[in-house]
Symmetry: C2
Subunit: 109 residues, 2 copies
């Protein structure tokens, strides 16, 4: 075969980013966002209730408020959800586009 048997030891710059790499990176990131039971349940909650619930999520999960907030942050940073400030509360809702991206990337396997 004699493929590119480079074992990338020593000085392999490998600076190039193939599109495949970027794609893998994106899917990995989105998959990771929902790779935790608590985050899955949050997504389900936001999916079920039309209303963008806020801190009700905390009541719904057996976790401390700070922990839920962390998970929300992760979901928000991944782009899967959006948070809108409404007075002292914050309403979260799913970002349909990102969710669509995740679905498409998974379906593409």
């Amino acid at each position: 075969m004699a493929k590119k048997k480079a074992k990338q030891r020593d000085c392999d710059p490998r600076p190039v980013r193939l599109p495949d790499d970027a794609c893998a990176e994106e899917l990995a990131q989105l998959a990771w966002a929902v790779a935790h039971p608590a985050r899955v349940r949050i997504m389900r909650l936001l999916s079920d209730r039309e209303t963008c619930v806020c801190g009700e999520i905390v009541d719904e999960l057996p976790l401390a408020q700070s922990t839920v907030s962390q998970h929300l942050k992760i979901l928000k940073e991944s782009g899967m959800i959006n948070g809108e400030i409404d007075g002292p509360k914050v309403c979260y809702c799913i970002n349909s586009e990102k969710l669509r991206t995740l679905k498409d990337l998974v379906a593409a396997f």
Copy 2:
């Protein structure tokens, strides 16, 4: 409102496992399996090539053999792939059923 404002502090047994929980757990686990760029690329590789490649995967990724082996183990334990021993080599292939499960669960959002 007066929902079940239980803050599950103190003595909240919460031993019950709602089906929703189990479902969230399963999705989280499967999503986690592909929540790493290397594992995504492995899945892609197995998806593209009809042939169940084995250690070619190592040549294809910029990772050490032992690291790739770890990722393969994770994918295998999650049920996403199967490994079949063929002489001194091992051929991996995607487990269509598990993949289908992942697709369905993600699509259900």
